[in-house]
């Protein structure tokens, strides 16, 4: 496809959507949002990019096969669950940092679980959609 409008828009939308997805991810603890929705928005960004510029350029942009996002995200999630064991709390207990970070606010180990989910969702969505568009 050679649609200049889409191509130009996609190039600007990619960083915007990614930024928005991170915003949604960070917003998620007490308000609507979180890793799952954030991951979906991030994958939309990449899919839009692949529609405008072709699959190969998106793959080049990602560097790694999206498949490896899945085990990577899972390991972050599992580690965030394991972290409380080292301070003698049950599995999956949320540990909070003592001081809030600037801009982001107070964060805890639950955020890392969400980041894991975020990566897994990107990995799964992109693997599925790339496989389908390759086989078409």
């Amino acid at each position: 496809m050679k649609i200049i409008l889409l191509k130009t828009a996609a190039n600007y939308l990619l960083p915007l959507l990614l930024l928005f997805s991170v915003f949604i991810l960070l917003r998620g603890h007490y308000e609507p949002g979180g890793g799952f929705v954030g991951g979906l928005i991030a994958s939309i960004a990449f899919i839009l990019h692949s529609l405008a510029n072709g699959l190969d350029s998106t793959k080049a942009l990602l560097k790694y096969s999206p498949f490896y996002f899945i085990p990577f995200g899972l390991s972050i999630a599992i580690l965030s669950g394991l972290a409380p064991l080292f301070v003698g709390e049950p599995f999956m207990t949320v540990l909070w940092f003592e001081n809030p970070l600037p801009v982001i606010g107070l964060i805890g180990s639950a955020l890392f679980f969400d980041i894991g989910v975020y990566l897994v969702v990107i990995g799964v969505t992109l693997t599925i959609l790339f496989t389908i568009s390759e086989s078409v």
């Binding site: 498949f67 085990p71 599992i78 049950p90 599995f91 999956m92 949320v94």
Partner: protein, 510 residues
Amino acid sequence: MTSNFIILPLLLHMATAIVLMFLWKRITAQRIISVISNIVILIVGILLFMQTWKTGIITMQAGNWPAPFGITFVADVFSSTMVLFTSISALAVSIYSTVGINRARMKYGYFPIFHFLFMGLNGAFLTGDVFNLYVWFEIVIISSFVLMTLGGKKPQMESAIKYVAMNMLASVIFLTAIAILYGLTGSLNMADLSIKIAQIENRGLVNITGLLFFIGFGIKSAVFPLYYWLPSSYHTPPSAIAAIFGGLLTKVGIYALFRFFTLIFIPNEFITTAFSLIAVATLITGALGSIIKRDMRRMFSYLIVCHIGFMIAGLGLFTEVALAGALFYLFHDIIVKTNLFLVSGIIYRIKGTMNMPKLGGLYAEYPKLSLIMAIVFFSLVGIPPLSGFWPKINLFQAGFFGGNYLLIVAMIIASFVTLYVIAKMWTEAFWKTAPPLDPDEKAYIDGFTVLRPFSKLLLVFPVVMLMMVSLYIGFGAENIMVISKHIAAQMMDTSPYIKAVLGNEALNIQ
């Protein structure tokens, strides 16, 4: 007692699956890691069992949310024994898979999915929360969908459609039942539900909810009349996968039934009668189905259905003796059914067919292997002193004591039919000389002899290992019976379970 240790059987499977996903196409590494991790998990399973046996029920409140609000993980002797037997099967199947599963399947993620499936199984055994149980069930069935369709052959797809459709239906019913249960009580914690359900005045509604759960689990564990999907889907995947399905997937439904109907819905006479009749029907129809099948694995599938009846019979009789018998049968069945499908896989590799009239001469060609297989078959039939015999004593005793003669007749018929079909299969496949080939048929080259000695060992070792476990269950029946009786006693008196989850005050307030 609270301990994080009980989450380890799940976490190790999950961690292994993640590591294996990083090594997606490197199948040699995958095989080695999978076997090693299964050995470690088996050791963890043994430790967990010893701990629950010595110190009683272990709990863990995930996320430090107190019960009944958070998700509780509970390991009593029942759970930990199930985890132990599951881990034994998992190790056997994983060793067998290193040779028994072809490379194409391994390249598309056989081993990671295998570990996700066992994570789900262990989770289902260890959770103390109804909704969490549903989630583990979903993990198990989604993994099993992948395993069932992996390879993408046409008959596999056909059977997968039946399998997926029925299991989805079961999940929907299960979920609906959970919703009703939550509406009734406002709780999902099993120990909490046990107290709250007992206080509800409207017993009709409670019974109906219980039966909804029974239908949901019944489809998964293949009881009459909900089993038709099983014999028509279990014969298509490779034997290692069929071994997991046959040995464990129906048993997790049985586990859930035992848990629900001894802890939450204490059966009244109406429900025990219903269970007895369903057990009779399952025993008879499963037995009749196995007589007419000529494909070995289809016949084994019907035997799965038939033997599920023995476990439901234990629930129908609902005395401590009967429950102990049914539990003993459950443990024996996990090992022997897994082994049965592994054996069928070796036979398929040797002969290239499962069709019994076309088989023959196995005993003449492989006398030692046949002897091992014979022990497996005899354990299944329950020839004393092998493992299938002992639980039946208990079930018969409970049946005579309760005057439930219909059930006894059904159990006798089922036992004899099992003996008959296994004897028939033995003469067909092992003793008779192989029939001559059709002139236009190409001769099958024995796929077992051409293997390297080490590969042969990898195929035979798991069968021998499970056979040894079966022999132990048979000859050391006393020990297994002590465990079963202990679990049955825990089932009849649920107060230790409730106390372990909710604390000592929970029962006093009532």
